[in-house]
């Protein structure tokens, strides 16, 4: 019995869809990918490179959960095309720790309880990392200013600020204290 209908599966349009080859240094490692120009950097990191520490919170350039460093500058990876990162250096939260050592920022967040649900944490830590590279001796106000593009919905800002000040002290070679911050 011949079917009344037979679905014809056409070849996917892949041949018509232009892609570009990009080479991006991600956390010190050269990664090469073939991407459609409309692919966002955040999606390349998460779905392409499986670096799922970069979170997508709002998708409308508000929340800062997708913050990564591009050439050392904190940016929203949901608001940059992956093709634009070609030839540049990207640091994600996976690049903060070295070997088995947490970075001082990560230690600070652990010690000062700088997270509850953890969704905003990678973005917070990367914004903080960029700020401390520029300003190793920040005031509480400096920290709040630098993190003002990163939203936390657990309202954990107090401890996040403390965590960054803790890390700053540690990176200066001082004994970080639980007091005096925030």
């Amino acid at each position: 019995m011949s079917p009344l209908f037979e679905e014809i599966i056409e070849e996917p349009a892949s041949a018509d869809v232009p892609t570009r080859r990009v080479a991006i240094t991600v956390n010190g490692q050269r990664r090469v990918a073939e991407v459609e120009p409309r692919l966002l950097l955040a999606h390349l990191l998460r779905q392409g490179f499986k670096l799922t520490g970069t979170h997508l919170g709002c998708d409308t350039t508000n929340c800062g959960a997708c913050t990564v460093l591009v050439d050392g500058k904190a940016i929203k990876s949901c608001t940059m095309l992956a093709v634009q990162a070609d030839g540049h250096e990207v640091t994600t939260v996976e690049g903060l720790a070295s070997m088995s050592e947490l970075s001082p920022i990560q230690e600070g967040f652990k010690d000062e309880h700088g997270l509850q649900c953890g969704f905003c944490t990678p973005g917070m830590m990367l914004s903080a990392t960029a700020m401390l590279a520029e300003n190793p001796n920040p005031t509480e106000e400096d920290v709040r200013w630098a993190l003002s593009g990163n939203l936390c919905r657990c309202t954990g800002y107090q401890n996040i600020v403390k965590a960054v000040l803790w890390a700053a002290a540690k990176m200066r070679g001082e004994e970080p204290s639980h007091e005096g911050a925030a």
Binding site: V17, P18, R20, E36, P37, R38, L39, L40, H43, D59, T60, T61, N62, G64, T67, K73, A74, I75, K76, C78, T79, M80, L81, V83, Q84, S127, W145, A146, S148, G149, N150
Partner: protein, 291 residues
Amino acid sequence: MYPSRFRYEAPRSLDDAIALLQAGQGEAKVLAGGQSLVPLLKLRFAAPELLVDINNLPGLDYHRVDPDGTIRIGALCRHATLERSPLLVERQPTMAAAAPLVADPLVRNRGTLVGSLCHADPQGDWAAVVTALGGRVVAAGPRGRREIPIGEFVTGPFENALRYDEIAVEAVIPASKGQPAGGYLKLERRVGDFATAAAAVALELSGDVVTRAGIALCGVGPSTIDATDAGRALTGRTLTAAAIEEAADLAAAAAQPRTDHRGSAAYKRQVVRTFVTRILRNVVSTAERAA
């Protein structure tokens, strides 16, 4: 959210970029910092056929002062650069005050002043600042360059005067003939939100006499508002309490706010009055401290 499909080119010279726009026949869009355009692409409010990324064009990331005092900001000069600029602190207080208030630190690392002008958002900070300063935009196209005064450049909400084959390559702030003074204040519910109301005040002073005054508002109308009457009220006068009050009232009268979730129209008008008063009083107290 994925943008709809587009072709992407990242030319290495301005001529190539202009040629691409010409070939694009109006279906191409210029990408600079992308902090407004990429969100629009994601929401599919914009769906250009071709994206011309100008980030690889050499020599456009400058901001500088000419020997005559004219300030020039290149198309790839990011907000963050202006925020950290000693040059603006020294030479242009209105711009120095506005730069740290644009969006949030992450956006400021990518977004550009010239791109903000092109985007022509009625709530855009830089459009108000450049309007108060009487600035211009330099457009480069196949027929060469032309300068467009900011009042003619912004033709409506999200509309500018660029032809489809032109690129805004520079913003120009005319040299201050007197001592530049002024400021920028913005009320926002949280960092990165659109302005509930904002006021830019740009003065030129000769001694304590105002020789030129520009006042512009954002967030309180369908487009950037040039409060020309308020500016004129200060010209030729010293900043007495009466002059300040008059200018603040005229600025509030020029506002066309609408009641929305950010506040009532009356409230926004009062914010404008307060901001203009505060900036002008601050100019007076700064001058008194310097004397």
